[in-house]
């Protein structure tokens, strides 16, 4: 027994009790494994009529199950004869229990039960007798032991539920007590009539109370699971049977309800109950026991031995039984008392228990701790792990009662924090913790982004990743998610659906959405409650159904808004939040979203929008709010530099908000396994060209006028001089000294400030590379695909002594499957239009006849926006004609910065099947792997060639290209069409690719 307790202890000492592989409550899922799912009822039609009263028995039972949040009610099949029952049971082999009445067509019930045994069916058979006299006759004349148990019908259909539950409890008790420490209630009664009447009451009370108590901050799914951990009732009819159960499950016994006069040693013993109480109390003095008897004189004996007493067959008996259970089984409030019984405090849930513990007198804490009252009360609420943590607290273990008090409070507090993490609970003001919670408001789906975040949160919690590095906290910033039902309700109630689908003017769509007045009231209330708790800046982000699918991540398609959330007037803050929500809703119908969806297999009507409202990661610096670092990490590197491998991953890191990275700006790129391998800094010139020179921050004092045209107007760009003043350049900055033509880490010298993150990457002041290495390992393990992670964080400074690492998003990454290795080596240079060793994609593209080309000689960096517009026009035309094309241009496609390349958005070039980017006259291009643009390239499997001719990295025959007569021409761009297709071949394994010239002459105009 001690070994058994030890192994339970060890199990309970870890959080394995309540954790599993990314799925909390794994322990609870293993409970009640063996179920009565199919019941065969053998009875006459008349008996069934009596059972059913006014409703169908099946429905009555099902409603009862649903009412108690019990997951599934059993199926009931009725037959009227023994022969039919056995034949059916043998044929269908699905029944877990047979309930028979005394009146079956073709044989006595006892004979039927014997036949069931002899048939080898191995199904328990329970007799449900209708009449007490008939039953007495049966018990006198026949051998009732052939039945697994006998019950009497007394007009309450709940007896059938009690029969089923009692059998389930008996077969599961062994496993469930060992698994999580589920508690047991012993019921000792030999009178069939009596236990048939009290068992349904006991079950109803236990189920009702359990359901009521399982409520704190968890959602319906978990309530269902926790109901499985309700106390198990063990019905016994003799002293020996009861004692065996008690010995077996002593540690788990919640209480005992017992008759006084029952069989011991095969004969009726009028003192069996009293002796049983005495024996139990000798071993475990604190177990509550209720004795029930018709003999008044037993009351004194009962109380003398520390048991409660109820007189049977009095009108108040059942009520007193209920009261005993409510009081002694700790179902009620926790009443703090002194030794004299004076109440000094009361707690209804974990939170109030923690609060009361701080203020009740010491003597009360002592009184309850010595008697393990805290532990018992927690177990009634299925908080087994916490109960176990608190149980061994003997007062003598502490130097003072105050120390015990502090320890109790701390344990409760930590537990409540831990439990909240990793669950997407329904939002309530009482349980939401603005430092850690992740909750939902409204029904429907959470959408792709929120699902990903919820998953990350679970992983971080279940695998104790949060505190895995010293002085570092890794977390998902607290958030609430508005489910897609809110979107549906808003769009439909305001009549915006058809309008949104058909309108092509984004400004008009925005205006109509912002002006829409109907918003679900109960949601408004919850948002207001949320804002009451959350005073930090917020990011309002899309989380649509189609987003973050494995095939089309929809990166950057929908809008994100950031809110200072600082106004003194809560109504203004609520209004700002509402407007941001409406604008995200509106972006579902923007032209860019429509264009994006057009080239996928989805339909816009299928799209629904959930919204994440998340606390921003960062810190205030005067009127700016931003993180010390942010970035995107991918577990697969498409352009690894030896000795790096693709699976080593790649990170893009920037100072300030992550907009720098996701919009394709300059950022530090490194592989977490090789953090000092910074290729972009191989020369001073490259360093100055490729380094971040400004950063983004939220302007906390900007007015949040939500006009119809603006995207996110509150995020502004600042120079590094501002970061230096704010102190945030301390660990991120480096200095270029023109005097020495050299770059130095740190800010001690005079010179031009640049971002290098030298102390972090080279000097390893903070374990950022190791954190990223771990997360880039965790992500693919959890998601089953390579992943991309967006993150932001703060380094220690001033009052902040720990590094904060916030996971903002994790989504699947589309990676090409390697197929046949295409040979790209053996081509005559005359046939080559383009060749590169930095190519994304794999396979052959052989159906492209159209080219959109940016004229290398005409291109003007100062007018790159016009170039983008021209390209967009060609794109629209070719998409409309359903003609995929090859896009060739200079600088970085999709660059945020118009000086670095052509600032197109993805929808403006969505028709391109392959893209070539080449260098500027002054500057080479480096592929920016962290941007949304890049992600869309990979997800749409667009062939992507990077060519730097002057650096001898690849080849592009500009002369041949520009000599071709275009079909149409604008200032900077031209559209060329060939009669025969080009050949594009890419070897994804070696990242090499070629584009071969079309064999034939140009297509005639109009072809």
């Amino acid at each position: 027994m001690d070994q058994h307790i030890d192994s339970i202890t060890k199990t309970l000492d870890t959080l394995l009790v309540e954790h599993g592989y990314g799925n909390r409550f794994q322990g609870f899922q293993n409970l009640m494994r063996l179920r009565i799912r199919d019941v065969l009822l053998v009875s006459s039609l008349y008996d069934l009529y009596l059972f059913e009263e006014d409703g169908r028995l099946y429905e009555l039972i099902r409603n009862e199950y649903q009412g108690f949040n019990l997951s599934h009610s059993p199926e009931l099949t009725r037959v009227s004869s023994g022969k039919e029952a056995i034949a059916l049971a043998k044929e269908e082999r699905r029944f877990d229990l047979v309930i028979t009445t005394l009146h079956i067509d073709d044989m006595p019930a006892i004979q039927f039960a014997r036949l069931v045994r002899e048939s080898g069916l191995n199904i328990p058979v329970v007799l449900l007798a209708h009449d007490n006299r008939e039953l007495k006759y049966l018990l006198l004349k026949g051998d009732a032991s052939v039945f697994d148990k006998v019950f009497i019908w007394q007009g309450d259909f709940r007896i059938i539920i009690a029969i089923i539950k009692s059998l389930e409890d008996r077969i599961n008790v062994d496993h469930d007590t060992r698994m999580v420490g589920v508690q047991t209630v012993l019921v000792i009664e030999d009178s069939v009539r009596f236990y048939s009447s009290i068992l349904p009451i006991i079950y109803t009370e236990i189920l009702k109370q359990s359901q009521r108590l399982i409520s704190e901050g968890i959602n319906l799914t978990h309530k269902f699971l926790r109901m499985r951990a309700r106390p198990k009732i063990l019905l016994c009819s003799s002293y020996e049977e009861a004692w065996t159960y008690f010995q077996e499950y002593r540690e788990f016994t919640l209480g005992i309800i017992s008759d006084v006069d029952f069989p011991r040693g095969g004969i009726q013993d009028p003192r069996a109950g009293i002796d049983f109480v005495r024996a139990v109390k000798e071993q475990q003095s604190d177990i509550p026991i209720l004795l029930m008897s018709n003999v008044h004189a037993n009351e004194q004996d009962a109380r003398d031995n520390g048991a409660s007493f109820v007189l049977k067959d009095t009108p108040m008996m059942l009520n007193e039984l209920r009261q005993f259970m409510a009081h002694s089984f700790s179902f009620g409030d926790f009443a703090f008392r002194t030794r004299e019984g004076v109440e000094v405090g009361r707690a209804t849930d974990l939170r109030s228990l923690e609060e009361q513990l701080a203020i009740v007198p010491e003597e009360s804490i002592l009184y309850h701790a010595e008697r393990n009252h805290f532990s018992n009360w927690l177990k009634a609420r299925t908080e087994f792990w916490l109960a176990h943590q608190l149980r061994p607290r003997k007062v003598s273990d502490y130097p003072s009662t105050e120390a015990l008090r502090t320890d109790l409070i701390q344990s409760l507090h930590n537990y409540r924090n831990i439990r909240q993490r990793g669950i997407i609970a329904d939002f309530t003001k009482e349980t939401f913790d603005p430092d850690s919670s992740f909750a939902r408001i409204g029904g429907g789906s959470l959408g792709g982004k929120a699902r990903g975040l919820g998953f990350v949160s679970t992983l971080i919690n279940d695998y104790s990743v949060r505190d895995r590095f010293e002085n570092v906290v890794i977390y998902v910033p607290p958030a609430v998610v508005l489910g897609t039902d809110v979107f549906d309700q808003f769009v439909d109630e305001n009549g915006l659906r058809k309008f949104g689908l058909t309108c092509t003017d984004d400004r008009e769509i925005t205006r109509r959405f912002i002006e829409a007045t109907r918003f679900p009231e109960e949601i408004l209330g919850e948002l207001a409650a949320f804002l009451d708790l959350m005073r930090a800046p917020l990011a309002v982000r899309s989380s649509s159904l189609l987003e973050d699918s494995q095939y089309h991540p929809f990166a950057g398609v929908y809008e994100t808004y950031m809110l200072p959330n600082r106004h003194l007037n809560p109504l203004v803050r609520l209004n700002d939040l509402l407007n941001a929500i409406k604008k995200v809703y509106a972006s579902t119908f923007y032209q860019s979203a429509k264009d994006y969806i057009k080239v996928t297999s989805y339909r816009l009507e299928e799209e629904k929008m959930a919204i994440i409202i998340q606390k921003m990661v960062g810190a205030p610096h005067e009127q700016r709010f931003y993180p010390d670092f942010s970035g995107v990490a991918r577990s697969y590197n498409f352009y690894p530099h030896p000795p790096q491998k693709p699976s080593d991953g790649i990170v893009s890191l920037a100072l300030g908000l992550g907009k720098t990275v996701v919009d394709g700006g300059n950022a530090i790129r490194f592989s977490p396994k090789f953090p000092t391998d910074l290729i972009q800094f191989y020369s001073v010139k490259e360093t100055l060209a490729n380094t971040q020179r400004s950063f983004f921050a939220l302007d906390l004092e900007a007015s949040s006028d939500f006009d119809a045209g603006a995207r996110d107007i509150l995020t502004k760009q600042y120079g590094l001089d501002v970061a230096e003043r704010d102190g945030t350049l301390q660990f991120a900055g480096g200095t270029y000294s023109a005097e020495n033509d050299a770059v130095y880490d740190g800010l001690s010298r005079q010179g031009i400030r640049i971002v290098t993150f030298g102390p972090v990457l080279r000097n390893r002041t903070f374990p950022l590379p190791r954190i990223l290495e771990l997360l880039l390992d965790m992500g693919p393990w959890g998601m089953g695909t390579p992943v991309e992670i967006e993150f932001a964080g703060n380094l220690p400074s001033g009052e902040r002594t720990v590094m904060e690492f916030g996971m903002l998003q994790m989504r699947p990454l589309v990676v090409y499957r390697e197929q046949d290795q295409l040979n790209v080596e053996d081509f005559d240079k005359d046939t080559l239009l383009c060749q590169s060793d930095q190519v994304l994609g794999n396979g052959a593209i052989e159906d492209i006849r159209d080219l959109v080309v940016v004229d290398f000689h005409m291109f003007d960096r100062a007018r790159s926006r016009e170039v983008a517009h021209e390209v967009s026009t060609f794109n629209a035309k070719l998409v409309g004609e359903n003609r995929p094309y090859l896009l060739i241009g200079v600088g970085r496609w999709g660059s945020l910065d118009p000086w670095l390349g052509i600032p197109v958005t993805w929808d403006q070039i969505a028709g391109a099947r392959a893209i070539v980017e080449t260098e500027f006259k002054e500057m080479s291009v480096t592929p920016s792997q962290g941007s949304h643009f890049f992600q869309n390239i990979t997800s749409f499997m667009v062939g992507y060639f990077t060519v730097n001719v002057h650096a001898r990295q690849g080849y592009l025959d500009w002369d041949w290209l520009l000599a071709q007569e275009p079909v149409e021409r604008f200032t900077f761009t031209r559209h060329i069409r060939f009669a025969a297709p080009l050949t594009i071949r890419i070897n994804g394994h070696s990242n090499k690719g070629v584009i071969l010239k079309a064999e034939n002459v140009l297509a005639s105009p109009g072809a």
Binding site: H19, D462, S464, V465, R468, E773, L774, D777, M778, W781
Partner: protein, 61 residues
């Protein structure tokens, strides 16, 4: 929380293949891990600090 009481392997005790940081996390929490190199099942005993003579070790299942 960092598991201070139990030694966690950083390489498979059977083939010597280095375990990644995440694999080490899995091992510390789940107490069991299958090496992807040799398919050896690494199992960690629950280690009682009071049990002086007994050290944690990997068991072959």
């Amino acid at each position: 929380m960092p598991d201070h009481d139990t030694k966690i392997f950083d390489a498979c005790p059977h083939c010597g293949q280095k375990l990644s940081p995440w694999q080490q996390v899995l091992l510390s929490v789940d107490r069991a891990l299958t090496c992807k190199n040799c398919w050896y099942r690494i199992i960690i005993d629950v280690y009682d600090p009071k049990d002086q003579g007994r050290k944690p070790g990997g068991k072959h299942s």
